[in-house]
């Protein structure tokens, strides 16, 4: 009690009115030695908070590096670390099968896992903020379902976009539909009088529509293409190759800085739409710019590896628990958590069943759910 009073001398609300004729609260406030001491204390506490967030981000990054290394080292071929190192450092001097395994399978798979996780994590994080809904993610709002429909058209009906080489057809069709669904979400967001709830409900409608359309295509599909299609919708890293890794890496490199630049506006948006607007944030523009970024990243990710549920949904929740909702830290954390979960899932996918690589989309849910529950249910101290 006495300490509280010491910490706040004469700070009852109207108290300083008479003593301070001009509005120079701040320098008068700072001049008081007790206040100066308190200010220093709060400032250092806040600095500690920020430092802690950087440490969390650094730990996540280190874990990702460790996880990618492990992911790269494990596999049905049982190559020794020495063989792996030799193949990496001196690719010309190893037998061809070993070269192919390391350079055409292990590396692109491991990197693709992380990149897809990063893309889905940051997309989910932004999406939950701009739609003000903890259930928003590329998966829950139809982007993945649209990609699956695009893929189904390519696989079953052999529909193809013009000028697309054979090996890119499925991804290109999937991307086309994913981006179209995201554009539809944007158009709905642009409608005058549409709220975030409208967009979310429309997204859910998209999910069901595209699921029904995929079922329709499955219904008319022959046996072989049906199997391919079902396998695609499970989400798998076996479709990774260097060009796809390159495309996704470039897109992430361009888009992530744009997201980080929008971080203060997104943080303000988290405090409420009207509030953000009254802070001078152009809410409509911020929301549409963000949807554009999300749609490109998420569409690329799902079109390359198929339906990956859950990562885009849980990564933001975990990030929020770890670093709070200042988006300068929250968005990178969501991306890193997404990358880590995907990479861990990729390891698990190769090792749950001996000599079989389980589709990673199945594993993300199985690995993700306990991880997610552990963090969400943990009582905050």
């Amino acid at each position: 009690m006495a300490r509280d009073h010491a910490a706040q001398p004469a700070l009852d609300m109207a108290g300083s009115d008479s003593s301070c004729s001009a509005s120079d609260d701040l320098s008068a406030y700072r001049a008081d030695p007790r206040i100066a001491e308190r200010l220093a204390r709060v400032r250092s506490a806040y600095a500690g908070l920020v430092r802690r967030r950087w440490i969390v981000l650094a730990i996540l990054a280190v874990l990702i590096v460790a996880s990618v290394t492990l992911d790269f080292s494990l596999g049905p071929a049982r190559l020794t670390p020495l063989q792996l190192a030799r193949t990496l450092l001196n690719p010309g001097a190893v037998p061809l099968p070993q070269h192919v395994i390391v350079w055409q399978i292990r590396l692109p798979y491991a990197l693709m896992a992380v990149l897809v996780g990063l893309a889905l994590g940051i997309s989910g994080g932004e999406m939950q903020t701009i739609l003000d809904n903890p259930l928003a993610s590329p998966f829950t709002l139809g982007v993945s379902a649209a990609a699956a429909f695009g893929a189904s058209l390519a696989i079953v009906l052999n529909w193809r976009l013009p000028f697309v080489p054979q090996e890119w057809i499925v991804s290109a069709d999937a991307f086309g539909f994913a981006i179209a669904s995201a554009v539809m979400l944007e158009l709905v967001a642009r409608l005058r009088g549409s709220s975030t709830a409208t967009v979310v409900l429309f997204g859910i409608a998209l999910v069901f529509t595209f699921h029904a359309l995929v079922s329709l295509v499955q219904f008319v599909a022959d046996e072989d293409s049906l199997q391919d299609l079902v396998f695609w919708t499970m989400g798998s890293l076996t479709r990774a190759d260097w060009p796809k890794v390159g495309v996704l890496a470039c897109a992430s490199l361009v888009i992530t800085p744009l997201s980080l630049r929008a971080a203060p506006a997104l943080t303000a948006l988290r405090l409420g739409e009207d509030r953000a607007a009254s802070f001078g944030v152009d809410v409509r523009r911020a929301r549409i710019a963000s949807l554009l970024r999300i749609s490109v990243l998420a569409s690329l990710a799902v079109s390359f590896v198929g339906t990956i549920g859950f990562v885009g949904l849980i990564a933001p929740h975990i990030a929020r628990r770890l670093v709070g909702e200042d988006h300068r830290y929250y968005l990178p954390a969501a991306a890193l958590v997404g990358g880590l979960v995907m990479s861990l899932s990729s390891i698990a996918a190769k090792n749950i069943v001996p000599n079989v690589v389980v589709p990673v989309g199945i594993v993300t849910a199985l690995v993700g759910i306990p991880f997610f529950l552990a963090i969400v249910l943990r009582v905050r101290s």
Partner: protein, 271 residues
């Protein structure tokens, strides 16, 4: 005091009054605010925005803040607020919504600093931190600075919302029912504080209020809306009359001189 000359930098260049000319707001085809002209509301005065539920108080406030498309003109001195882009307008106006700040995973201090730094204001973190903490202290919630927003009560969140509005150093302060979640002590304290700030900084403050006694004691002016139209505007003592209360609220009421000669509304029943 070295701070004295710096003090003037905090004052607005010109103490401007607020004028509203023929403001109208429509939702779809339905016009909900009809031809509202107000003012000039001079700098340094507090105006209570009164009226029954659904009379358009919040709509008018949001229109003044530029959060709704509106016809008509809004002038702050020479500045045409209605023609400004949102970012520029936010430099002049601060608006406190009726809803409480949401429970986000953010420290209280951080939530106030965001208000200072978002929307393109070039304020470095150290300054924003000091200003935010000073304001939280003056609102009596300084010790909550490093507490999570999630952990606050409704009333505390309302005080944080007020800090978010004031930390932007606006010239026009628009508050939508800032007292709704507050206990009696804090209601009086907040109104004293807002009135003090308004006078000291030369703000034009407009507050949506339900409690007529608070309006009588703390507001210089009163504006009464009813069904989207202006029912009356003027010094609060001249406006809050039994006749007006009957027209706006359908109640039988009288104005008595209570302790220390303060006027106070006593409601006898509904009409």
């Amino acid at each position: 005091m070295t701070g004295y000359s710096r003090a003037h930098t905090h004052m607005p260049d010109t103490l401007s009054s607020l004028r509203v000319e023929h403001l109208a707001v429509s939702f779809g085809r339905q016009e909900v605010l009809h031809d509202i002209s107000l003012g000039p509301l001079p700098a340094g005065t507090t105006t209570a925005l009164l009226g029954p539920n659904g009379s358009g108080k919040s709509t008018l406030l949001r229109a003044l803040a530029g959060l709704l498309p509106a016809r008509g003109a809004i002038w702050l001195g020479e500045h045409g607020l209605d023609r400004m882009a949102s970012r520029e307008r936010a430099r002049f106006c601060a608006y406190l919504p009726q809803t409480l700040p949401p429970t986000v995973a953010m420290e209280v201090l951080e939530a106030v600093m965001v208000a200072r730094q978002a929307g393109g204001a070039r304020v470095d973190t150290a300054t924003a931190l000091a200003e935010s903490l000073a304001l939280l202290d003056r609102l009596g919630i300084g010790e909550l600075a490093l507490r999570q927003m999630n952990a606050l009560s409704g009333g505390q969140r309302q005080l944080v919302g007020l800090a978010q509005a004031l930390v932007r150093r606006p010239q026009v302060l628009l508050l939508d029912e800032p007292l709704s979640a507050l206990d009696l002590h804090h209601q009086v304290a907040v109104m004293d504080f807002v009135q003090g700030e308004t006078r000291r900084r030369g703000l034009v403050t407009v507050i949506v209020l339900h409690d007529l006694n608070v309006a009588l004691q703390h507001a210089d002016h009163a504006v009464v809306l009813c069904e989207g139209r202006l029912l009356g505007e003027g010094p609060s003592l001249a406006i809050v009359t039994p006749d007006m209360l009957r027209k706006a609220y359908d109640v039988r009421a009288r104005i008595e001189q209570c302790s220390r000669g303060r006027p106070c509304v006593i409601v006898d029943g509904i009409v």
